[in-house]
Subunit: 329 residues, 2 copies
């Protein structure tokens, strides 16, 4: 089996490649993995399959055709301009997130006898307030951002191209990923990871919202599990509804901090500095808080047990299972 | 006020123009109406405002810019390739219904200090089964056709362009229009009108589905009322949710026939010939049957009272209020 990963240099793309290297990741031997991103992906050494890396603008004419030359059976489409960028650069957001995806789907459609499994990572940004207490699988897409609109439009294309049998798409709407490894980033959701990651590394973290703020989270490990499951499930039962709300953990910031305290002690929790930001609070307050992902659960997508499990996943994957409690005491 | 009607040669476009000619149709004097369609619209004589007619492909480069030269304050965007055509001609459907609309919105965005009211006619085709017993305003768009996907994508664009204040959009999702005047057309929904229209004109009508089939209907008069109301409502309360399910009448085919019998007698009803078609029955059976259009009603969109009223509207508007009961007795 040949696999193509678009957006392979990002955090999810790199973790996906790591996971594909484990035995039986997809239940089928992997012959080759093609990696594409704006910057050339640098796969780790020792992978059990050959890789080829490509760099550039995937939305440029001809690029999709080149990436499909070997007809990869599975395509993970993780590439996008992020939310804040799409909001600031209106034309570029539509060009990359919408037109780039459409060019990919058109390139797929143009190849005879080719119907790859396409796994697309969508986002909670397809939703907008007001919300019910728990968002079910029939809730409308009413995005509050250009990014969300672009994701929702691509979802519709995937449903139509799948219905017409041009490709075999599965859209997974990922919860906010937590705990993201690395450093804080420009995303407004960055603090959901920061308030756990920084204290576990003995660093101060800024919390810009109130403790009662609730959100929908999943670990990177759960997210990779969703990607692999989406690549292998039987899509016959999906019909025209190719978009699935992924399982997550609904947790308040206060509950996150309690989990941190339980795991690493009061000293760790004390590293969180509350610095309320009304602008961030207003935006984060418009995000969904809780889902009932009945379809995804029924299809076997399995998420994190609770926030303690999410925290331990970070410690396992990024800190080799050990936290220097001395430092955080 | 200057008005642009895209798709002006169609049944809705022509009736809209007639209605605009009545006093106080929009509450503001009308200075000019621009009419565009694939074939040149031929406005009736005696209109109380000047018109200019344009013909051609509205999705061709430069056309939208030309139509916006005089900066119409209200744009009625009724233009589209119909459902069956969009399904048969995949590329052409996306080019006209999606790309044409996007080019129009981009042309609007490119004009400084210009933010027209844009009224877009969407469709029940944005929905797909399975449905709840009554579809509420939060129900997802899961189209079962390329046409529905294109409509849903344009809806998302209008929401985003409105949120960014590039235009001021109102999307009205019209029920199936009944009773359509004229002759049967290729639409699968044609019989909903045909079983009333043909008998009232002394002609036989074919009914390809069972009497128990239920659907969501509105008269042409109600639809024009929705268009005018959408052109004038205060959009401040709409937020990012610019798409509104329009009021309609939920009625079974059997109830339609009963209304015909009440109005025109058993002889009229006897002109309906039952000729079940499993293919048509299956497709029509996948259409929505009933809505709870709470938002639209709250915004003052007012529909038909019942199916008897829909039938009388046809008789009033198309038969000058008289049916030759001799002929249908």
């Amino acid at each position: 089996m040949k696999i193509l990963i678009l957006g392979a240099a990002g955090m999810i793309g790199r973790k996906l490649l790591d996971r594909l290297a484990l035995p039986h990741a997809l239940g089928t031997p992997i012959d080759e993995v093609l990696l594409h991103d704006l910057v050339e992906p640098a796969p780790p050494a020792g992978l059990p399959f050959p890789t080829r890396s490509f760099s550039g603008d995937y939305a440029a004419p001809g690029v999709a055709e080149r990436l499909l030359e070997t007809r990869p059976e599975v395509i993970f489409h993780l590439a996008s301009i992020v939310s804040g960028d799409a909001e600031a650069r209106f034309e570029e957001g539509y060009r990359v997130n919408l037109d780039g995806s459409r060019m990919l789907f058109e390139a797929i459609r143009s190849l005879p006898d080719y119907r790859p499994r396409l796994v697309y990572t969508s986002s909670l940004a397809v939703f907008g307030p007001p919300y019910p207490a728990e968002i079910d699988d029939d809730f409308l897409c009413a995005p509050a951002s250009s990014y969300g609109v672009q994701k929702a439009m691509v979802e519709l294309l995937i449903a139509d191209y799948s219905r017409k049998s041009f490709l075999d798409g599965v859209v997974i709407r990922l919860p906010t990923i937590c705990v993201r490894p690395g450093r804080p980033n420009a995303a407004l959701s960055s603090f959901f990871s920061g308030i756990i990651r920084e204290p576990l590394n003995g660093l101060e973290a800024i919390l810009p919202v109130e403790d009662k703020v609730r959100h929908w989270l999943a670990s990177p490990r759960a997210a990779i599990g969703y990607l692999l499951h989406a690549a292998t499930i039987d899509t016959a039962s999906l019909g025209a509804r190719r978009s699935l709300n992924m399982p997550g953990v609904s947790v308040t910031v206060g509950e996150q901090i309690e989990a941190l305290r339980r795991f690493a002690g009061a000293g760790a929790a004390a590293l969180i500095r509350r610095q309320p930001d009304p602008v961030i609070s207003a935006i984060v307050g418009s995000w969904p808080q809780r889902f009932a992902p009945v379809r995804a659960l029924g299809l076997g997508f399995a998420g994190d047990a609770d926030f303690d499990a999410i925290l331990r996943t970070y410690v396992d994957e990024e800190l080799n299972g050990r936290v220097d409690l001395q430092r955080t005491a």
